[in-house]
Symmetry: C2
Subunit: 340 residues, 2 copies
DNA sequence: CTGAAAGCGCTTACAG
DNA sequence: CTGAAAGCGCTTACAG
């Protein structure tokens, strides 16, 4: 019973020409009224604006883009394998990106890639469907980074890339992990096991670096036998836990929440109590860790802000403004029952 | 050291005109060679195709779209609130959609909406940036459904909508839940509590319906006091668990995995053992449920297939082909330790 | 302050 | 089998 009865039912295919004709002005004038660019009389502008509001005309972003050689799209590149696809990180990031991009009239085009297949990204780029790209994460030898660099396509990488040419943004994983481990060390905990995911992901290297630095800063030696990388949910991870328990570590630090959940399950299965038998901490938080029994000490990052800032930087980059080569975002440490 | 040295460094801004000129043919001919439409001599076609391969020219999808009044984009609409954004369901779906859409040269444009803000979707539609839309989930009074219907924009809804005009696809939640509850009843379990999420989501209604039908089929009465909807992770959920335990239910069924994880934590905190004190089952599976201790009986759906099929249907719809008003997808039930 | 015209990079009747 | 020309829906120098 609202206003959805009248003449506006699918008043769709109206073009700038229709508006111009109806008003007896030129398309140029209509364009100017809408864009706000170029001189135009107030009366004329208002007349046009009123008309398009009442007839709810909306310009085609596609046509506008063609005329300006822009697409008003940014590419969002995330892992498309079933293993890592459900990582909440990327979803939270996306919220931030959309919050930033939408008011600027930009849309987000997703491409799903895997370690050795970036065809969806290539399609988006070669078909000229994006003005810039945000990489959701970076790999050690990243095909996407190489490709985008090669194409001269503006992009910002979420992660850490050893290349001054790559505009990048990252949580300060290294410092965060160093600080968390330092805290443990200060509590008198020395034998700290580390279980991490794929060493192909740059974030793994950053976290490992932080772990190492904490020991070095404390004047201690890093026991390499306490470090297990490339742990897989099924097989390798359980073995790592076994080894670490055998080595009688006092605490197991997991590089991300998914590894942590699995490690906890493994410990439970073996009847090990947390924190009395072994303490647990995670380099990445999640609700289930935070609200688990016991609650788990973990690092907290503001993921939506990562996305928001990545997008802001990309927008500036596209517009040719000067942007920082690298920006680092903060974190905080939540000490919980698992390290008591 | 590969072929990335030569003349193809950012051979970007080549247009169909450049190709035509270089070859001494018309743009029409180049277009025909690429699209495969219209008569063209084999020799000519090959000449053109060879040239564009060697100089890796790729047409602008934007320009092509404008000429054909198409965008080659489909909209993907998902919740953008921080609560539900990280639900793995939507990510898995997206993989399926991308798998289907990408080979057809379609790209995916995401819009994040909330129960009462669909502005991102509206932007995508009014700016003419999508040819069709897939709704990631449906609500009881869905603004997006209403809007798209009103705009005459082709779309398929993942979920259940009581409206013949809405092309929809869904997992068969109702049957799946009925079957799972029937199984429990057949085991002699009669007092079965149910904890569900927002009743604003149509999926909640479907699952509840299945729960009810199981009792009715068994000739039993549904005890409405055992049903708790709109449970929130923090407050309401714990209360629901308390009430159900007080009522001495034999089994608690959770409507989704996130509720289930929280319920389990609550039970642990209270020192209740699963399954000896109370059994647990979930209407939606997740790795952490499956691999938890104890492992949790749950319903399994093939989420990527939902996305894939939704996309296939939309493609047909856009092309004007006849599509089914409603398609229902299968499931399976995994009986685990939590109901032993 | 306003408009005619060319152009963005394609496609597609229409002719030949 | 091939091409000239108009058109998709906008923008933007250039003139006035």
């Amino acid at each position: 019973m609202d206003s959805d009865i009248g003449d506006n039912k699918s008043a769709d295919k109206m073009t700038i020409g229709d508006v111009a004709e109806a008003l007896g002005v030129s398309k140029t004038t209509v364009s100017r009224a809408i864009s706000g660019k170029g001189r135009i009389g107030n009366a004329t502008r208002d007349k046009v604006l009123d008309f398009i509001n009442q007839h709810n005309y909306t310009p085609s972003a596609i046509a506008k883009g063609l005329a300006q050689s822009k697409t008003y799209n940014i590419g969002w590149v995330i892992p498309g394998d079933y293993g890592s696809a459900d990582l909440p990180f990327f979803q939270k990031c996306l919220i931030g990106i959309a919050e930033m991009a939408s008011p600027l009239q930009y849309d987000i085009l997703v491409s799903m890639v895997s370690e050795n297949d970036i065809s969806q990204l290539e399609r988006a780029v070669t078909n000229h469907k994006v003005d810039g790209v945000i990489l959701g994460r970076t790999m050690e030898n990243d095909l996407a980074v190489e490709y985008l660099l090669n194409q001269g396509m503006p992009f910002v990488a979420i992660g850490t890339v050893e290349n001054e040419c790559v505009v990048q943004i990252d949580n300060d994983h290294c410092s965060a992990c160093r600080e968390l481990v330092s805290l443990l060390i200060m509590k008198g905990i020395r034998r700290i096991g580390l279980i991490g995911g794929s060493s192909a992901h740059t974030v793994t290297g950053q976290r490992l670096k932080g772990y190492r630095e904490a020991f070095i800063e404390a004047g201690l030696e890093v026991d390499e036998d306490n470090i297990f990388l490339d742990a897989e949910p099924g097989f390798r991870l359980d073995k790592a836990v076994d080894s670490l328990m055998m080595r009688k570590v006092q605490c197991i630090v997991c590089m991300d929440d998914s590894i942590c959940v699995n490690a906890i399950n493994k410990l439970k299965k073996d009847g090990a109590e947390i924190p009395s038998d072994v303490k647990i901490a995670s380099f990445f938080n999640s609700p289930q860790l935070e609200k688990g029994i016991p609650s788990i000490t973990a690092l907290n990052f503001d993921t939506a802000t990562v996305g928001r800032e990545a997008c802001r930087i990309l927008m500036n980059y596209i517009e040719g403004k000067e942007v920082n080569h690298r920006t680092l975002l903060g974190y905080d440490i939540a000490i919980k029952d698992s390290t008591k």
